[in-house]
């Protein structure tokens, strides 16, 4: 026991002084923590494994390359890409304002902007419906102007942006708060105007978090289901994204639904791996 205490003490010292050295000393975690971790990991991995086992692998290729599947996949990729661009264009300024500006109601704004994170997607879909729907707050005016959002691909992009935007805002805002204003202050006293500070100091510092935020956004947009179903409808090639196609196939052709699900799981794995490899290297992200 004393031996272990000594080791723990040594590791604490090493942890404090030698953060840069490659070797990390063993940390003393109680064993029940590992048991809990194992159960938790199984809860996530086991269902995915079960689905993989149920997959009709011999028919996998024809199933995922059927015309309806390809149409859904293509639509999903296009809409997710579009909403990701929207997220970056709208989310970055939003994060900057939330992290740097000071005005009354900022806290409230922040809470509201992050609401889609905790809102059931179907509620988001209904909210969008009453805003951009044909009889919605803005939808009615759009309709008069000849812009029909209801049942269009634009509606899918709106729904995806609605649910994905908080991910980008959160990621970028956290980075801004961590970075603090020290560098920006230094730049300003060197004579850099706010635009220059943003372009040459703030944004470069944000790049790693912007990248991981963007990837998360894309993943969230790709997986969007509830809001799209409620708000945009479901029509092959127009609004029926991959999750909606899976939902439809699940009722009639489970094999196809499983195959398409595995396609989404694979995509998600790649995305998570990409994000994780970026965020798992503290410090180096900013320099390279």
């Amino acid at each position: 026991m004393t031996n272990r205490d000594a080791m723990a003490a040594a590791s604490r010292v090493a942890g404090r002084g030698g953060g840069r050295s490659g070797r990390s000393a063993p940390v003393g975690l109680p064993l029940w923590v590992f048991a809990g971790a194992l159960a938790g990991a199984l809860l996530i991995v086991l269902p995915l494994l079960a689905m993989a086992l149920r997959t009709n692998w011999s028919g996998f290729l024809p199933l995922v390359t059927s015309s309806s599947a390809l149409a859904a996949l293509g639509l999903s990729l296009r809409t997710a890409a579009a909403s990701t661009v929207l997220c970056v264009l709208l989310g970055t300024p939003l994060a900057l304002v939330l992290a740097r500006a000071r005005f009354r109601g900022l806290k409230l704004l922040r809470a509201l902007v992050l609401l889609p994170l905790v809102l059931p997607p179907v509620v988001g879909g209904m909210a969008l419906l009453y805003t951009f729907g044909r009889r919605g707050l803005l939808g009615e005016a759009f309709e008069v102007a000849g812009i029909g959002i209801a049942f269009s691909t634009a509606a899918v992009v709106l729904a995806q942006t609605f649910v994905a935007l908080p991910f980008l805002v959160l990621s970028v805002e956290a980075a801004l708060r961590t970075a603090g204003t020290k560098f920006e202050t230094a730049a300003a006293t060197l004579g850099a105007a706010p635009g220059t500070v943003l372009r040459r100091v703030t944004l470069p510092l944000l790049l790693p978090s912007l990248a991981s935020g963007t990837i998360l956004c894309f993943a969230r947009a790709l997986g969007e289901f509830g809001a799209t179903l409620t708000f945009a409808g479901s029509l092959a090639g127009v609004t029926r994204t991959l999750p909606l196609e899976i939902y439809l196939q699940h009722e009639t052709d489970p094999d196809a639904a499983i195959a398409l699900s595995m396609l989404l799981v694979g995509t998600a794995v790649v995305i998570v791996a990409l994000t994780y490899s970026r965020t798992a290297r503290p410090g180096s992200g900013g320099a390279t």
């Binding site: 809990g36 729907g133 209801a150 049942f151």
Partner: protein
């Protein structure tokens, strides 16, 4: 790095896992199924899986059956027929299955999951509904061919979609919906909120839609009628609730059932 504590920890981990799975099992709360033992006395629980369109009459019929057979509890699970079939094929503890079309029942039957022959107990016909006030001025099926009309219907893969297609075929119109939903309730919702100018649903949905929707008369609707079959499941029969299931089916097909179904807009086969 000695063996002792490590082995002990493995046991502890296994125990934790076991405990965890027991907790999960406890949470799963299988409806009906394993609850017979503790429902006490002659009390039995019958689990009925029924198509969403049957929600109204079946809720009423479940109560009256419970009254007719004292000590019985009827649990109801309403969803799209195809979804229910998928659940039953995956081992869901249904004792009775009432589907909105024969094809779906056939799917369950061919998988060997039925405990008896299906029995047709109701019919339903497709109906054309528009939001209250009929903003797009729809007069009949032919108006649905107009590009400016936002028509919402079920996807062809689900029963209500198949029926709608048969209706279109019988009237020789080609439909170009702006959305193909998974369930008739989703179609009804989009008409109710005014998102859609028109929707193809069932006659029973006109009743459910109340004042929010108006029905537009459609010829040849009977040609596209769907028949609702009901059957006991193999699982129900094997767990000793075959009698109870048969009784419920009799109740639904009998005079009480007929009256309730007719009131909801269903027809008689």
């Amino acid at each position: 790095m000695t063996g002792g504590p490590r082995r002990g920890s493995r046991h502890r981990a296994a125990a934790a896992l076991l405990a965890g799975s027991l907790v999960l099992a406890g949470c799963s709360g299988t409806p009906g199924g394993d609850r017979t033992a503790d429902s006490g006395g002659d009390g039995q629980v019958l689990t009925v899986y029924a198509a969403a369109s049957l929600a109204g009459p079946f809720t009423e019929l479940a109560r009256s059956y419970e009254f007719a057979v004292p000590g019985t509890t009827v649990r109801l699970n309403f969803a799209g027929s195809a979804e229910l079939a998928t659940q039953i094929l995956a081992g869901a503890p249904a004792d009775v299955f009432a589907s909105a079309d024969s094809a779906t029942m056939e799917r369950v039957d061919s998988a060997g999951e039925l405990g008896g022959a299906p029995r047709d107990f109701a019919t339903n016909v497709p109906a054309l509904v528009v939001p209250a006030g009929n903003p797009a001025g729809i007069a009949g099926l032919a108006d649905l061919e107009d590009d400016g009309v936002a028509l919402v219907m079920c996807a062809q893969q689900v029963p209500c979609g198949a029926a709608a297609h048969r209706l279109a075929l019988a009237n020789a119109v080609s439909l170009r919906p702006v959305s193909e939903e998974n369930s008739v309730t989703a179609v009804l919702a989009k008409v109710r909120t005014g998102e859609a100018d028109a929707g193809l649903v069932y006659r029973t949905d006109v009743v459910r839609g109340g004042g929010d929707v108006e029905a537009i008369p459609v010829p040849q609707a009977d040609e596209a009628a769907v028949t609702y079959p009901i059957a006991a499941t193999r699982r129900g029969a094997e767990t000793g609730r075959g009698q109870l299931a048969a009784g419920f089916i009799e109740h639904v097909a009998g005079p009480k059932g007929r009256a309730a179904l007719e009131q909801a807009g269903f027809g008689t086969p």
